[in-house]
């Protein structure tokens, strides 16, 4: 009996979410009484694969092939199905990243097994696995169970801190040979563009600096970018700012955008519509800056500043600069 963790690789390196998946698998395996198998899919990934032992992987499977250098739902999915058939796990943990969500949905559908996407917690009661996942963008939480095995769990990034339990540890890697003809995969990623911008993604960042209608226009995001740079943060936005065309939809936090759980969320000029609050209320600490002391955002903010953004944001940037120097 094992728990299988899918370890996402981008640009030849394992992502932080991959280590979180192994840590989650480790905890689940301890509760269920089993071991952790890690599976890596990509190209030239042997080095990163063997290092997964440091994070607690007891068995490591790697599908390493030129065709797998870029993502394809059908290609990666077939590799994951193959790993499931080999490891016969009771549960499969897949990071709920953009790749992971797509992959988990296809794989669970192919296997005809349950998938709970975006889980934030799980527990084992009398041998039965139950998971908690936000629904209605986080306005409610659902405890669910699956009928059928393995139970595929999408693990929301940043909800479980990865633990390197055996620093420097390396394991042996079992190859997963390609069992399909790549030419039969009809939809394939050909390239990734815009990666050179190096923008942090709001769903992955530990700190998010987000702006709303109050920033006043596209140029109003500049002071927020300065602040984000000092903090190593991602820049987010409310729906109002996105719909006004001031910033790309990729930055939107809330019900028709991304749901985020950073350590620190700084809401600037965001009034706090119910759809936005749903998307960021699980942040560990919330700071709000708004000129309206009655804005609903202050009800959820741990620390609020009432004032003019034009003055407060640069002052905050300077204060962080001093503190972090």
């Amino acid at each position: 009996m094992s728990v299988l963790a899918f370890c996402e690789v981008r640009d030849g390196r394992c992502k932080k979410a991959a280590f979180e998946a192994i840590t989650a698998a480790k905890k689940l395996a301890a509760d269920l009484g089993g071991s952790v198998t890690a599976v890596v899919v990509g190209h030239n990934i042997q080095d990163d694969a063997k290092k997964l032992a440091a994070w607690g992987a007891e068995r490591i499977l790697a599908a390493d092939h030129e065709f797998l250098a870029l993502y394809s739902t059908g290609g990666y999915g077939r590799c994951l199905v193959q790993a499931v058939e080999l490891a016969q796990p009771k549960a499969v943990i897949v990071p709920a990243t953009i790749m992971g969500k797509d992959l988990a949905a296809w794989t669970a559908a192919k296997l005809g097994v349950p998938l709970a996407s975006d889980c934030t917690e799980f527990k084992v009661e009398d041998g039965a696995l139950r998971v908690r996942r936000p629904v209605f963008a986080g306005k409610a939480l659902a405890w669910t169970h699956g009928e059928g095995e393995p139970f595929v769990l999408g693990l929301r990034p940043n909800t479980m801190a990865a633990e390197e339990i055996n620093p420097g540890g390396e394991g042996s890697v079992e190859p997963l040979p390609l069992t399909f003809d790549p030419s039969t995969i009809r939809a394939v990623v050909k390239e990734i563009t815009g990666g050179d911008k190096g923008d942090l993604d709001v769903a992955e960042a530990e700190i998010v600096v987000a702006g709303g209608r109050g920033v006043g226009g596209p140029e109003g995001f500049e002071p927020l970018r300065e602040l984000a740079k000092v903090l190593g943060a991602a820049v987010g936005a409310s729906r109002a700012a996105v719909d006004a065309g001031w910033i790309d939809h990729a930055a939107q936090v809330g019900q028709t955008g991304k749901v985020v759980s950073p350590n620190l969320y700084i809401a600037i000029g965001i009034s706090g519509a119910i759809q936005h609050l749903a998307g960021m209320r699980t942040a560990k600490v919330i700071v709000a800056i708004n000129k309206d002391p009655e804005a609903p955002i202050f009800k959820v903010a741990d620390y609020g500043i009432v004032g003019d953004l034009v003055e407060v944001v640069p002052a905050l940037t300077e204060a962080f600069q001093k503190a972090l120097a």
Partner: protein, 251 residues
């Protein structure tokens, strides 16, 4: 070109969620229903595809109780879809695999070349139906597409990933799930609204398979501790940074 669009009617995004008496479902008594936000982009993309090819049919497929969802589905017809099929079933126990099974069964008979749907419904946020329908059809799927070009039997789709954009190339038939920003959905015209009243809306009784993902209970998220206003104006900035460092310990 025959184009299928799967749509769902869900509580509007400004719904304040209350948990029902059974502890497992949402109290729907004061809830306003509307066409799922992401499905609007799916419908629009289907209409544009039909318009660009010059002929074809756009059919909406939905699962639910006709009495509650019919008027919202009609709004999709008002935008320009040709007809709708509602699979009438008890929705209390439905999970996405059951929805996908019902939809696939019906869509197969229509024999479309492409299936559009929203990337997820705004209620249970599972984002699984597109992949499940694709798996059942034996077709490729591209999820959360924010740009799409179709020429001949080939397509080129873009999807936003963390810090970049993936360019996916493939061939039809395929399932495409729409992300916000795929297009700018049109508003229904008065003419469209009038025409929609006469467009066929078929209701079919359907038996849903048992769910594989079962909700045992719903709970509300714990309330956040009462917020506090640290101060006013730029003078408060240093105080907040100090609190973040020494009290909250996040920097």
């Amino acid at each position: 070109m025959k184009i299928a669009v799967c749509v769902v009617v869900a509580p509007s995004t400004d719904t304040k969620v209350k948990i029902g008496a059974d502890g497992k479902t949402i109290d729907m008594s004061d809830v306003k229903l509307e066409l799922n936000a992401y499905d609007e982009f799916a419908i629009e993309e289907a209409l544009r595809l039909k318009e660009s090819t010059g002929d074809g049919e756009v059919v909406l497929f939905s699962v639910g109780s006709p009495a509650t969802i019919k008027e919202e589905i009609r709004k999709g017809l008002a935008r320009g879809a040709d007809r709708a099929v509602i699979l009438d079933t008890d929705t209390t126990q439905l999970d996405s695999s059951a929805v996908a099974a019902l939809l696939t069964g019906e869509i197969k008979a229509f024999e479309p070349e492409i299936i559009f749907m929203g990337k997820q419904s705004v209620d249970y946020d599972s984002a699984q139906v597109p992949s499940q329908v694709a798996a059942a059809m034996g077709w490729p799927v591209v999820t959360k597409v924010s740009s799409l070009a179709i020429e001949g039997g080939a397509f080129r789709a873009e999807r936003e990933i963390e810090g970049g954009v993936e360019v996916v190339e493939g061939t039809l038939p395929a399932v495409i799930s729409a992300e916000k920003g795929l297009n700018e959905p049109r508003y229904p015209s008065l003419k469209g609204i009038m025409a929609a009243k006469k467009k066929p809306m078929e209701e079919k009784a359907a038996e849903a398979p048992a769910p594989v993902l079962v909700i045992d209970c719903l709970e509300l998220p714990p309330p956040r501790p009462e917020g506090k206003i640290v101060g006013e104006g730029p003078e408060a900035a240093a105080k907040v940074v100090e609190l973040l460092r020494n009290e909250a310990k996040v920097i």
